[in-house]
């Protein structure tokens, strides 16, 4: 920690969720709000192999990990994604965060069979940033609304109930209307019991260019931690595996200080909340986990 750094340090209470940056920063899309600037050419972080994932899954057993999450980039660019998810379902519940534009029927057929054979749930979270192409496409790219909707329809066809995840690029007071519009448009695409999750914007990576970054005052201070339940913070119950090692949380992998060690065991030390994104996590809480985990308060 730099001399004079007074950032509050958060202990890892339980490693409940283990994340995998399974396609690194590689993505077929180049969203203008991406907090780690993923793109087809950004190979700052690379793919994780099935072998690497399996090693960490095995290590996670003795730590009592409750759920596994997979993100990128676009996870399904990783050619081993289907076997990775099949393997994970032997260890626990799996959630994959996808943009829904590259899914193939043969993959979903295998994954549905794997979920049926498992005790555990396989959740898909599909990122769509608005209920219309007019809202979504300027952020995620031309025709991405239409392509993602096809992905949703395919998931529904294979019996999944994807969680549609949207980053709030509108006024928070408009949430009700936007969610209502989303339910209607999803129903028109055959998804009649849509599950929806709204995420706050994280003003780092590409998003810092699109709008603005964090102001210096947007930091968590020691005073703010008084009477605050730190279980709201991802770093108190999660870690993420990348091709460089184990980092503190899925949001901060671009920050060099987020790398905690080479193994899960080495990553269990406390982490100082010195980033602007920590402030967003502090304000909104539990932003990365699924609704079924319940509210942390």
């Amino acid at each position: 920690m730099p001399f004079g750094d007074t950032s509050p340090r958060v202990a890892l209470t339980d490693l409940d969720e283990l994340w995998f940056q399974v396609s690194g920063t590689l993505c077929n899309l180049e969203c203008t709000h991406c907090f780690i600037s993923c793109s087809p050419k950004n190979d700052a972080f690379g793919y994780l192999s099935l072998e690497t994932v399996e090693r960490r899954l095995e290590e996670s057993r003795s730590l009592g990990v409750k759920e596994y999450y997979f993100t990128g980039g676009e996870p399904f660019l990783n050619r081993e994604m289907v076997p990775i998810l099949e393997k994970t379902l032997e260890y626990g519940p799996a959630t994959v965060l996808t943009n829904g534009t590259v899914l193939k029927p043969e993959w979903l057929e295998r994954l549905r069979a794997a979920e049926e054979a498992s005790t555990y749930c396989l959740e898909f979270r599909v990122s769509i940033d608005g209920p219309t192409p007019e809202i979504n496409d300027p952020i995620r790219g031309e025709r991405t609304f239409e392509r993602a909707m096809k992905g949703v329809a395919l998931l529904v066809e294979y019996g999944f109930l994807p969680i549609i995840t949207m980053t709030r690029t509108w006024d928070e007071r408009d949430d009700g209307e936007i969610l209502g519009d989303f339910r209607n448009v999803l129903a028109e695409h055959g998804y009649t019991r849509a599950r929806l999750k709204v995420l706050p914007r994280l003003k780092i990576g590409a998003e810092a260019q699109r709008t603005c970054g964090y102001e210096p005052y947007e930091r968590v201070t020691p005073e703010m931690m008084e009477d605050y339940d730190s279980s709201q913070l991802i770093c108190s119950h999660s870690r993420i595996v990348t091709d460089r090692g184990v980092h503190v949380c899925p949001i901060l992998i671009d920050s060099p200080d987020s790398l905690m060690g080479a193994t899960l065991e080495e990553s269990l030390t406390p982490y100082p909340l010195r980033h602007g994104a920590c402030y967003t996590c502090y304000l909104y809480g539990a932003i990365c986990t699924n609704p079924s985990a319940g509210a942390r308060e």
Binding site: D14, D16, S60, R61, S62, L63, G64, V65, K66, E67, Y91, G92, P93, E115, T119, Y120, C121, L122, E123, G159, F160, L161, I163, G176, R193, R195, N290, P291, S292, A293, G294, A295, E297
Partner: protein, 284 residues
């Protein structure tokens, strides 16, 4: 020995009455309720005499904690605005319809209950041993997580409720030895279900749990071979007068959505908290 475990009652005093009779008939020597006495149904005060007069040993759920401490909401842990909207209707009705002595009684309930029978260490909680309103769903709870809870909370059998859907998991560590060097490495987690509303399967019955322990059980033994097979878990589907409950819910002005669940067996609210696998089994 036979033990009976009731999950959330949610004001469903008719189901509670039927469960007590049924459990006695099946030989239950002790009866337990794992909390959330209020919510959803009518006439909260009718639940308490049944529990007290029949010696049902109770722990405090998040609902009971909220009502006992005069909080503004039920601490159910929902994340969706519609789920929270209906939860609030139910909470306000229950709070206003629960007498002061019964509120105080709930406030003083213990958060957990522990006992040991034939060397088997039982831990009764509401959601999980570490958090009253933690949702432990079958499809989103890994076995190694349950093993960790059992290890950290010194229990062989953990029983909880809170989610509204029953399930059981037994485990036996491959090594038979835990990290801290103690023997064991095996155990059982049981979600005992709830009496308050049906399980989102299109059937109107509710569920409770019977647990039988064989005589001379070696379960939980500190030495040598141990086996969970001596602990037998039975989930009991329970019929009760759900039509009367629905009628009384309508009479006190509870939402049509709640009444529909009682009459059809399908959940119409609190759906967003379900994992995909559990949600898929329902209609909505």
């Amino acid at each position: 020995m036979t033990l009976a475990f009731f999950g959330g009652v949610y004001n469903n005093y008719l189901a509670l009455e039927a469960a007590i009779l049924d459990a006695r008939r099946r030989g239950a020597e002790r009866m337990f309720c794992l909390g959330d006495l209020g919510a959803f149904g009518p006439h909260p005060d009718r639940v308490f005499p049944l529990l007290i007069d029949n010696g049902v040993e109770c722990i405090q759920g998040n609902y009971d904690n909220s009502i006992g401490k005069d909080l503004n909401d039920c601490q159910c842990g929902y994340t969706d605005p519609r789920d929270n909207y209906f939860a609030q209707i139910s909470y306000e009705y229950t709070y206003e319809s629960t007498s002061e002595p019964n509120r105080r009684w709930m406030r003083d309930l213990p958060g957990e209950l522990r006992f040991e029978i034939d060397g088997v260490r039982f831990l009764l909680c509401h959601g999980s041993p570490r958090k009253t309103n933690e949702f432990l769903w079958e499809s989103t709870t890994s076995t190694q997580f349950l093993e960790k809870l059992a290890r950290e909370y010194d229990a062989d059998v953990i029983l909880g409720t809170h989610t509204g859907i029953h399930w059981v998991r037994q485990w036996r560590a491959e090594s038979g030895e835990l990290n801290d060097g103690s023997a064991g490495g095996q155990g059982v987690f049981v979600n005992v279900g709830v009496l308050g509303r049906p399980e989102n399967d299109g059937r109107t019955n509710v569920w409770y749990t019977l647990l039988r322990l064989g005589g001379g059980s070696e379960f939980g033994s500190r030495n040598g071979e141990v086996g969970v097979s001596r602990v037998e878990v039975e989930f009991v589907p329970l019929e009760y007068d759900h039509n009367r409950l629905a009628r009384e819910m309508a009479e006190v002005g509870l939402p049509e959505e709640f009444i529909e669940t009682i009459q059809t067996g399908w959940w119409t609210t609190c759906l967003e908290i379900l994992p995909g696998k559990e949600r898929r089994k329902g209609r909505f």
